[in-house]
């Protein structure tokens, strides 16, 4: 399914392979639930460093495109789950920014945590 990357181009091999996986998902060659080749077998087929394959799978997992199930392999995530991980990432970013702002206002971590908890508890009572 994947082509041999061009090692002599200025683009790192892991970037080339990542693009190929992304492309396969976009064109539907790989669908949700499909299993990607194992690290060793893909490294052998493409004759590239196994650490490169590991790097590609890890980064695509962080980007929410696939999921690594330990001992089983790497699987393509469904769009829904992908959207969910993306949503979580955006939310995390919002929280991070808010915490930074509050810290700049002079609040310490304990105070911030108490504010969050009080807000969530209040939310629960209002329901």
């Amino acid at each position: 399914m994947f082509r041999k990357p061009n090692p002599s181009s200025g683009v790192p091999i892991y970037v080339q392979l990542k693009e190929q996986v992304r492309h396969a998902i976009e064109t539907g060659a790989l669908c949700a639930g499909d299993q990607l080749p194992g690290i060793r077998s893909l490294a052998e087929t493409l004759v590239i460093n196994p650490n490169t394959v590991i790097k590609v799978y890890r980064e695509l997992e962080q980007e929410g495109l696939l999921e690594i199930r330990h001992g089983l392999g790497a699987f393509i995530l469904s769009r829904h789950r992908r959207a969910k991980t993306e949503g979580m990432r955006d939310a995390q970013q919002l929280v991070r920014e808010l915490v930074e702002t509050l810290k700049d206002e002079g609040l310490d971590e304990g105070a911030i945590r108490r504010l969050f908890e009080a807000e969530l508890a209040g939310e629960l009572q209002r329901r």
Partner: protein, 296 residues
């Protein structure tokens, strides 16, 4: 990460000639590390010191935790490291089958399945005498004997020299496969394309000294050529910035090679009112040529 190979200020002099001049190497477990350099740059001397085959003039090092400069410990290194030498020395009077059987008897971790697969893949004639093998076949046989040993560290000195492209790809595939099973591979080579294909770390040596020590991806991502054209000729010293490895000026045209910090360099070049600025990737071959020539 644990280091499988590490050296400290390793030196080797032959009479007045300084072959290796203070090497600090570190090869991490599980990596495929390429060792590049011109002929006579000190690669083979370094490898021989790592294996305790020659004694360092000064400095020290460890391979798999054993001291390379202690007789008793370097024996353990040679027992636990699979080494394929540059000269591919073999017992000429044995047949292929005999030398395989002979070598196998020394190594309890021998990989019989790999041995069988490689004998078939390399099309090695079992009953032919080693003396009667072609150069390519000899190389394949030596590699087979190294690969099948089942060691955690594989040191290869110019492994693909004299092989045709098909055999080279076979060899690289085995390297990749062993690496995927946890073997660390340290190999010297002149073939930059094959290094780019399978190595995840590059060490470059010139005249006995390390001139590059970096992960392959970092080399690809951070090294850049920057071409700029200025309205008027510029002074070379205005372009001596962090990350600039080399500056070439030709009238109003300047070409820079940067190893990192590319964004700030480009910003600086624009600030000097360059009319056009182009940033291009650099191949490992170009880096090699520049590193080696820069010191000429």
């Amino acid at each position: 990460m644990t280091a499988v190979i590490e050296t400290e200020s390793l030196k080797k002099t032959y009479g007045k000639h300084e072959a290796v001049r203070g090497l600090n190497l570190c090869v991490e477990a599980g990596s495929v590390c390429a060792f590049l350099g011109q002929n006579g740059a000190g690669k083979s001397s370094t490898i021989k010191m790592l294996l305790g085959m020659i004694h360092p003039t000064s400095g020290t090092g460890r391979v798999l935790g054993h001291r390379i400069d202690k007789e008793s410990e370097s024996l353990l290194i040679r027992q636990n490291v699979a080494f394929v030498a540059e000269d591919k020395r073999l017992y000429d009077y044995m047949t292929v089958a005999q030398i395989v059987r002979f070598t196998k008897s020394f190594f309890p971790g021998w990989k019989r399945d790999l041995e069988q697969r490689l004998l078939a893949q390399f099309e090695l004639p079992l009953d032919r005498k080693v003396r009667q093998l072609s150069k390519g076949m000899r190389t394949k046989l030596t590699l087979l004997l190294g690969f099948a040993r089942g060691c955690e560290l594989l040191i290869l000195d110019e492994p693909t020299e004299g092989l045709d492209p098909v055999a080279i790809e076979d060899v690289l595939q085995i390297v990749v496969s062993l690496a995927a099973q946890g073997t660390t591979v340290f190999f010297s080579s002149h073939q930059i394309a094959e290094v780019e294909q399978v190595a995840d770390h590059v060490l470059m040596i010139d005249r006995g000294q390390l001139v590059l020590d970096a992960p392959m991806d970092q080399v690809k991502e951070e090294y850049r050529h920057i071409h700029a054209v200025f309205p008027e000729p510029v002074e070379e010293r205005d372009l001596r910035l962090p990350g600039v490895e080399k500056v070439q000026t030709e009238g109003r045209t300047v070409s820079l090679t940067a190893s990192h910090n590319v964004d700030s360099i480009v910003a600086h070049v624009r600030m000097l009112r360059a009319r056009s600025v182009d940033v291009l990737p650099v191949s490992l071959k170009e880096i090699f040529l520049e590193k080696v020539r820069a010191r000429g």
